[in-house]
Symmetry: none
Subunit: 201 residues, 4 copies
C-alpha cells in the first residue's frame, strides 16, 4: 500500500497556496518531530507523535532485503478484546478495526447495537493511522482550512482525521499496524483505542 501514498514534503507547499498559520518550516518540524515555534496544543502533540513515528526504520537484512515486522492475528485479536473490554467498561458500543503493517485489514469486531456508519470509519481510522504513522487526530489538526494538509481526507479512498486511530508499534518502535475505533464521542473512541493499543505489550 505504501507506493500508493504520496509523501508530503516541503516542496508541496506552494507560495501563495493558501496555507496560512503553519509555515513550511514549522510544518516540516512538526513532521520531523521537533516543533520550532509556537504551535500550541495540537501541534505540540503532533510533534511528539511524529517523533515516535520515526523511532524505527526498516533495515537491510540478508540479500539486501528489508527486515520488517508485522502484527500477528493473535496480537490483533488481543487488541480487539482489550478495546471491547474498555468499551463495555465505559458503557459505549464500538466498532474496532486492526490493520497490519501494509494497512490492510487484519481483524474487526462490531459490538451489538454499535453504529453501522462506524464500520467504515473504524477501518478508515486504522488505515489513516498506518498510512502516516500518526494518531488520526494529529492529521485532523493539520487538515483544517488553512492548514498544511487541507483536504487530505479525499486521498487514499477517504481518510478519517479525527481521533480514534493509533499506530501500533513493536517493542523497538517499528510500526506494525494500527487500530481504529468508532462508535461514541471522539474522546471515548480515543480512550478505547488506547486501551486496545496497550494490549500489544
Amino acid at each position: 500500500m505504501s507506493d500508493h501514498v504520496a509523501p508530503f514534503t516541503e516542496r508541496d507547499v506552494q507560495p501563495g497556496s493558501g496555507v496560512e498559520g503553519v509555515a513550511a518550516s514549522s510544518r516540516r518540524a512538526v513532521l520531523r518531530g521537533f516543533s520550532g515555534a509556537g504551535l500550541a496544543g495540537a501541534a505540540a502533540l503532533a510533534a511528539r507523535g511524529s517523533a515516535r513515528a520515526q523511532e524505527a526504520t526498516p533495515e537491510a537484512g540478508e540479500g539486501g532485503t528489508l527486515s520488517t515486522q508485522d502484527i500477528s492475528l493473535e496480537q490483533a485479536q488481543a487488541i480487539i478484546a482489550a478495546a471491547l473490554e474498555k468499551a463495555a467498561e465505559i458503557g459505549t458500543k464500538m466498532d474496532v478495526a486492526v490493520v497490519d503493517a501494509g494497512a490492510n485489514l487484519k481483524a474487526f469486531a462490531r459490538m451489538d447495537g454499535a453504529w453501522l456508519g462506524s464500520i467504515d470509519i473504524a477501518i478508515k481510522k486504522a488505515r489513516t493511522a498506518r498510512f502516516f504513522d500518526f494518531p488520526t487526530g494529529v492529521l485532523g489538526e493539520l487538515s483544517q482550512p488553512g492548514g498544511p494538509l487541507y483536504q487530505i481526507e479525499v486521498s487514499n479512498g477517504g481518510l478519517i482525521t479525527f481521533p480514534g486511530g493509533l499506530p501500533l508499534k513493536a517493542a523497538d518502535g517499528t510500526v506494525i499496524g494500527a487500530i481504529g475505533v468508532s462508535g461514541s464521542t471522539v474522546e471515548d473512541d480515543a480512550e478505547v483505542a488506547e486501551a486496545g493499543a496497550a494490549a500489544i505489550g
Copy 2:
C-alpha cells in the same frame, strides 16, 4: 500511549469557525442523550433523537441471536405518503427515501418536477441518519471545520450531514430505519422529514 492521542475538546472549537451553538460540553451531552442548553432547531431535534437512540438495545433471543425489529413496507409507504402530503402543503417538490434497520433502501418517491440531484441526497440522508441514529443536521454541526467530526462526509461512500434525515423508531425506541428528504431549503427538508417520521405512530 496516552500522549499519542489528541482528543478534541472545547479548545478545538475555534471562534468563528462556523461551529455554532454546540460547544464541546454540550456536544458530549448530545451524544449521550442529554441536551445541556438552548440548541435551536436541528440541534434540539438532535438532542431528542439522541436520547431516544439510546433507549433500546438489541437483546439476545433464542439460540443467542439478537431479537430486533425492522420497518415494514406498509410503514415505509405511510411515511412517504405523509411526507409528500406535507411537501405539497408547503408548496415544495421533494425526493423522499426510507431505509430499513440495515440502512438498505426500502421505499422511495420523487415528486413531479423535484430535483434530480436530490435522489442521491435523499437516499444518503436516510442512510446517514441510520448509520449514526442521529438527525443528519446534528452530524453537520459536528463536522464543521474545527469540529470533532470534521470531514466525516468522506466515509461510508459519502454522507450528507445537513438537515433532512431522521432516524425512525418503534414504540420502544428501537431504531427501525430512517427517512431522508431533499428538494428545497434544509428547513423545508427537515419539516417534511418530521412530518414523514410522525406517521410511524
Copy 3:
C-alpha cells in the same frame, strides 16, 4: 406487452457454455427450494440453503414493525473461531468475514500469511450470500455465459459468485447474516465456510 419480454428458459442454457449441472428446470427448483437432481458439492449445498432461505418470513410485531432476528457478536466470533480452526486443520490460510442481517460487516479475521486480495473477496462473499440468501456458488452457476443471471457480478458494487459464502440462519430458518471465506481453492473455502456456519448451533 408480453412480446417485449424474453424470459430465459431451458433453451438458453447452451451445451458447452460452461453451465453444468443446473438446467433451467432444476434452477427454478433451486430458487424455490427443491433440488431436482444430483447437483454435487456447492449445488447440493445450494439446494439445501435455498430451501432454508424460504423457511422464515419476517412477521408484523408491535406497532406494525417487523419482528426479526440478527446475529450477535458472540455468535459471529464463535463462527470465525470455528472457521479458523478448520482452516488450520486442513493446512490453509484464510480470510474470514461475517456480516449481519443487513449485510453489514460484523466481524473479520485474516490468518497470518493469508492473501491480501482475499480481504475484499471474503467480505464480498459474505455480502453476496446475504444479499440473496444463497451460497455464493449457486449464483456462480447461474451467472455463467448463457445462464439466467449472466453478469450479475457487476451489481451491488461487485459480487463474488464462486463458492465460499454461506447464509447464516437462526434455529427457525431466519437468515441472520452470512459468512464469507477466501484464501485457498474454492473447495477449501467452501469447506471452511461450512465449518464456520456449523458453529451457529
Copy 4:
C-alpha cells in the same frame, strides 16, 4: 443521461475483434428491427423489441425545443402497486423500481423479506431498459461471449442484462421511463415487470 450513452454503431465491430456468429450487417438489422438472417430465438425477439423501441421520436415543438413526455409519480406508484399485487399473487417477494424518461429513479418499493441484493438490481434493470429502450433480456442475448454487445454490462456504472426490466411507453409509443423488478427467478421477475408495465394504461 443520454449523452452518457455511447450508441453502438457498425463501425464499432472491428474485423477480427472476436465478434462471432452475429455479423455486423445482421447486428445492424437487429438494432433496426429487421433480422436479416437466421438468428434464431433470442435475436428474433430482440428484433421485435427493437422495432417497437423506435416507434416514437421526440419532435421539435415551439421555439425549436423538443416536445417530450415523462412519467408522473402517480403513474409510477400505480405501476409499483400493480407489480406488488402480481408478486403477492404468485407468491414472490420483489424489489420494484421505476425510472423516468431521464433514467433517474422515480419510485421504489421493497417487499418485506425481499432480497437486499435486488435493490441495486431492480434499479439497474430499470435504468438499463431506459438506457437502450429495450427489455433488459434482449441486451443480455446480445452481450454473451461472441455477441455484438459483449461486456456492455461494465458501462454506465453497471448494467443488468437479464430479464426483469422493461421500457414504459405512452399511448403514442414514446418511452417515458422503465420498470425494473428483481427478487425471484428471471421468469417471475419478467412476469411481475409486465404486470407493472400494464398498469400504465
